[in-house]
């Protein structure tokens, strides 16, 4: 579904992605982890072209992520951000309905019906007329997930979806994501939530200093990490 083939990215002279290659198959859940500054967020944002790359190639569902088809391709890939990025001037309902109407050209009635269904699913239907500023972080992130799902995406990208949340709200978001994974959604998730990775992921990609250091099946990664860097990372993140 998603193929990342030897991509490079520089910020000036600093190389933030070093010939990274990996792939996400249909229905697969891949967790990307690594220390901060390792390039995880840049990698996931490259998948839908939010971060342009200077070398290599990314394809999604067989289409090269380029400049000509970018909007059309993005409409088919859902994305959830660390800081939610709901539109503050629109109600919860409008946040979920807007792109359906203006990008997919669905009628307002269809978009609202779809939005209501998804808001029910993420437990936010009672808040449909509220504005993002009136919600907690966990609630906002659940709305953001509904907003991405409303486009009937073929794959979902999660960029540290729980990093900006208070601890007591992390699980309500992870629960929604877990449910989504169990339904067979293709997912690429940048996260530090190793519990989630252990439960839900099929594969783990470990990045350090812009390079993909390990790319392995979940159990193999957690039980016998290949590299010292991955071992050091895991011991820091798991034992405290």
């Amino acid at each position: 579904m998603i193929e990342i083939d030897q991509i490079d990215k520089w910020y000036g002279a600093h190389q933030v992605l070093k010939s990274c290659s990996t792939a996400v198959a249909k229905g697969e859940v891949v967790v990307v982890c690594g220390p901060s500054g390792s390039g995880k967020s840049t990698l996931i944002k490259a998948v839908n072209g939010l971060e342009p790359i200077q070398g290599g190639r990314i394809t999604v569902a067989g289409e090269v992520v380029g400049s000509t088809n970018l909007s059309r391709l993005r409409a088919r890939i859902g994305m959830v951000f660390q800081s939610f990025e709901l539109y503050p001037h629109r109600t919860v309902l409008d946040n979920v309905a807007l792109a359906q109407m203006v990008v997919l050209k669905r009628s307002r009635a269809d978009a609202v019906a779809k939005a209501d269904g998804l808001l029910t699913r993420v437990g936010m239907i009672d808040h449909r007329m509220k504005f993002p500023g009136q919600l907690s972080g966990g609630q906002q992130q659940r709305v953001a997930i509904a907003r991405a799902l409303a486009m009937d995406p073929i794959a979902m990208l999660f960029d540290e979806p729980t990093s900006a949340l208070d601890p007591e709200m992390i699980n309500e978001v992870l629960d929604v994501m877990t449910e989504l994974a169990l339904e067979g959604m293709t997912m690429m998730v940048v996260t530090h939530e190793m519990g989630f990775a252990r439960r839900v992921a099929h594969r783990v990609v470990f990045m350090d200093e812009g390079a993909i250091v390990e790319d392995r099946a979940k159990d193999a990664f957690f039980d016998h990490p290949d590299t010292d860097r991955a071992r050091a990372f895991l011991s820091k993140i798991l034992h405290h």
């Binding site: 909007s71 539109y87 001037h89 504005f131």
Partner: protein, 240 residues
């Protein structure tokens, strides 16, 4: 001081008529110029935020040229100089066939000048929006026009309502400069009352009070605008 106070003069014809007609001209002049300034300023402000360097540079040059020259000089330039520089038939049309050339020249001078100030505010308003908002909109497949239409402009304008209030007020006050090219707006009419009656104190007191009434009205209207566009859940329209 030996001065013969006579406030009654203000309510006697034709002087009352002078002042009323002055208020009318000031209102029509300032409002027409504001429509021009707001429209052109918005376009220029958006241009300055576009990634295309050429487009952005055109707007930047406009802003620098217009705000670098005093408004009074603009009035003289548009009235005395520009018609001479144009092709002969255009210049003749401006000087001879255009009905009310002083008024329309004043609209142009005031509107084109204020546009550069509006442009800077619109640019600042858009640039103050966190980049994540654009990313979220783009990730949902919106094209650039849609991102501006649904996200950046609604948020950007809300942020700058307070500064636009001040620009809107200023255009009424700046319209008094139009008297230098012969537009009979409020200040010019006050001068006319003075020259007919020698009651300068009364005439300019009247003009002062009328200007204050106009600007206070603007303040009240813009406060309504601010309140209606306030986003629920945010402390003020300034934040996101």
């Amino acid at each position: 001081m030996n001065y013969n106070w006579n406030w009654g003069i203000l309510f006697r014809e034709p002087f009352l008529g002078f002042l009323i007609s002055g208020v009318q001209t000031t209102l029509v002049l300032a409002l027409t110029a504001w429509v021009l300034a707001f429209t052109l300023g918005s376009v220029l402000g958006v241009m300055r935020t576009l990634p295309n360097r050429g487009v952005s540079a055109v707007a930047a040059v406009y802003v620098e040229v217009f705000r670098g020259i005093p408004l009074l000089v603009w009035f003289f330039l548009w009235f005395f100089v520009v018609p001479e520089l144009l092709p002969q038939t255009w210049g003749r049309w401006l000087k001879r066939d255009l009905p009310d050339p002083e008024f329309w020249t004043a609209v142009a001078a005031l509107g084109l000048y204020t546009a550069c100030r509006v442009a800077e505010q619109v640019r600042a308003g858009i640039q103050a929006i966190p980049r994540g908002q654009t990313m979220a909109a783009e990730a949902s497949g919106m094209n650039r026009v849609q991102v501006y239409r649904y996200i950046l402009l609604p948020l950007g304008y809300r942020r700058i309502v307070p500064v636009l209030t001040s620009e809107f007020m200023t255009i009424f006050k700046n319209s008094s400069l139009a008297l230098t090219i012969g537009v009979m707006e409020l200040t010019a009419q006050a001068r006319q009352v003075e020259s007919f009656t020698f009651q300068g104190f009364e005439a300019f007191t009247a003009a002062t009070v009328l200007y204050v009434v106009i600007t206070l009205t603007v303040t009240v209207i813009m406060r309504q605008v601010e309140q209606r566009t306030r986003i629920p859940g945010l402390l003020s329209a300034k934040g996101t």
